[in-house]
Amino acid sequence: MDIQLKRGLLDVCVLAAIKDKDSYGYQIIKDMKPYLSLSESTLYTILKRLETAGMLTVRSAEHDGRLRKYYHITDSGIARIEEFKEDWKEILSIYRFVVKEEENE
């Protein structure tokens, strides 16, 4: 898959994983596992990128005697998901057009 496309998809997937409830690293990986496998290093980079872009915030909370980082989506993160949905409506209609062309050949 095109690397730029994949990067965009991963960003939105991570945002979706923290959309309803704050989540932490391992939970995000587990939630995404059925759809796409994600290495820890890649997740780290994505989280960092989203944090820099202001789409999520990070807080450390104690869990079982150790610190765990929880990620919280911001308004601009939610806006990004909405934007993604709009974009993909368009892409899907183009896809249907392309597939139809092929079937007619």
């Binding site: 690293g25 391992y26 939970q27 820890e40 290093s41 079982d64 765990r68 980082k69």
Partner: protein
């Protein structure tokens, strides 16, 4: 491998990155391992799930911008020997011009390469200008009734248009090539800075 050993090896592998980056990364991996253990995996299994230290280091290196690596590299790690300082000051008239010259040569080489690219694009732009000029001049001549002159001007305009189209692809290919070479060199420099310290 246990968690402690994994994190120690990772720390060694990441030497060369800014200290705060290393700490943050290590905390992240430590949390990941702890969470897996909490879920019922053994410590060794939890560590193995992360991958090998070498793989993790390569991936982190690929994602770190060159400027961060360089900034960290030029920070002195141990106190400098006073004699080294004396030598540096006494030798200043000698090493500074040499260093400056080396940088100037590298910079000059880079500028030369880009000059070629710019001149290629300049040819492209002038061909477009010739096209527009030719069309304009043809129109003027046609209005004044000089048909022969108008036709020859139109021919020149068409020739320029053809040449411009060819030139565009040449320019594009040359620009892409230089950007590609620049990227290759950047990755090469990154490996010189950190590669030898990876496990």
């Amino acid at each position: 491998m246990n968690k402690q050993a994994f994190l120690e090896q990772l720390r060694r592998g990441l030497r060369g990155l800014p200290q705060e980056d290393i700490e943050e990364r290590l905390n992240f991996y430590s949390e990941m391992i702890d969470d897996r253990i909490e879920e019922g995996l053994s410590e060794a299994e939890a560590v193995a799930a992360i991958g090998t230290v070498g793989d993790v280091v390569s991936q982190i290196l690929a994602e770190t911008p060159l400027t961060r690596l360089v900034k960290e590299k030029i920070k002195p790690k141990s106190p400098i020997n006073p004699w080294v300082v004396v030598l540096l000051i006494l030798g200043f008239p000698l090493w500074f011009p040499i260093l400056a010259a080396v940088f100037a040569i590298i910079l000059a080489a880079y500028i030369v390469v880009w000059s070629v690219i710019i001149s290629l694009w300049a040819v492209f732009v002038s061909l477009i200008a010739a096209l527009l000029g030719g069309v304009f001049s043809a129109a003027c001549n046609a209005v004044c009734g000089r048909i022969l002159a108008a036709l020859s001007m139109l021919a020149i305009a068409l020739l320029s248009a053809g040449a411009a189209i060819l030139m565009f692809f040449v320019c594009l290919a040359a620009t892409r090539f230089v950007i590609w070479v620049t990227k290759k060199i950047a990755v090469g420099i990154k490996h010189m800075l950190i590669g030898k310290e990876t496990v």
